[in-house]
């Protein structure tokens, strides 16, 4: 089973700058999964154990507004087979 949190973005610049900002939380980048649509193809993936830390950095330092990004909780490869994808409230 594969569980993670995912940030998708309206702009590629926002994606790249967020990945840099959240580096201390050991985030990785990946193509936006096919079952989610976003303007920019780069998404930032957050491990469950780094979720709180990543959110804290984002909340205190990011200049993005809720219009600029979307936040998801994703579980893949569970018993049901289909990936589960919940859209979460914006971090700030």
């Amino acid at each position: 089973m594969d569980e993670y949190y995912l940030l998708t973005f309206e702009s590629t610049h926002a994606a790249i700058s967020t990945e840099k900002l959240l580096k201390p939380a050991e985030v990785t980048i990946m193509p936006v999964p096919r079952f989610i649509s976003a303007s920019c193809g780069i998404s930032v993936r957050i491990r469950p154990d780094k979720k709180e830390y990543a959110e804290e950095i984002f909340r205190e330092n990011s200049r993005l507004t809720p219009d600029d990004y979307a936040y998801y909780h994703i579980i893949r490869g569970g018993a049901a087979g289909e990936p589960s994808c919940d859209r979460l409230e914006p971090i700030k």
Binding site: E19, I29, P31, I42
Partner: protein, 191 residues
Amino acid sequence: MRIDAGGKQCPIPVIMAKKELEAGEQDVEIIVDGPTQVGNLERLGDALGRKATSEAFGDKFLVKFANGETIKGAQVAEADTYAVFFNTNAIGTNESELGGNLAKMAIFTLSESERVPSYVLFMNEGVKLPAGDEPQIVENLNTLIEKGTQVLVCGTCLNFYGIKDDLKVGTVSNMYDILGAMQEVSKVIKL
């Protein structure tokens, strides 16, 4: 003779069948999972002058090769094998920050793929990817290696950039092995 290659991924069924056909074996039949393997075996049959026909076999396929003499020394590409070649540390040259991120995502996507490359090859500035300080790239290349990919890194290039000791994943290699890998697979994708 009948070979059971059910559950075997490309290019294993081709290798199994080729071995028997080249040994001059007659009445060769092989059970495979899907149409991809059937297509590969048909190409093998054509190349070796032992035409292949296929039929459904339960939920699998049975491929039968015609009897006769096997063409010796025929070049058979290991169908559907590929290598990925990085000769820069980014995809494209214009905007290195974007290109670096694209390269990172490409390696991630390859590592998640069900059909991993036979080789990932790094030359020139490309060697900075496995020798760089991106944990994501190192982790994803290790995943590829676990899945059977060989990661070859140009030693001359590591030496040129003075980063030989920084290599975190992959095998230090040379022009012979890297070009040999390119010649072996059926296609090379340059990113």
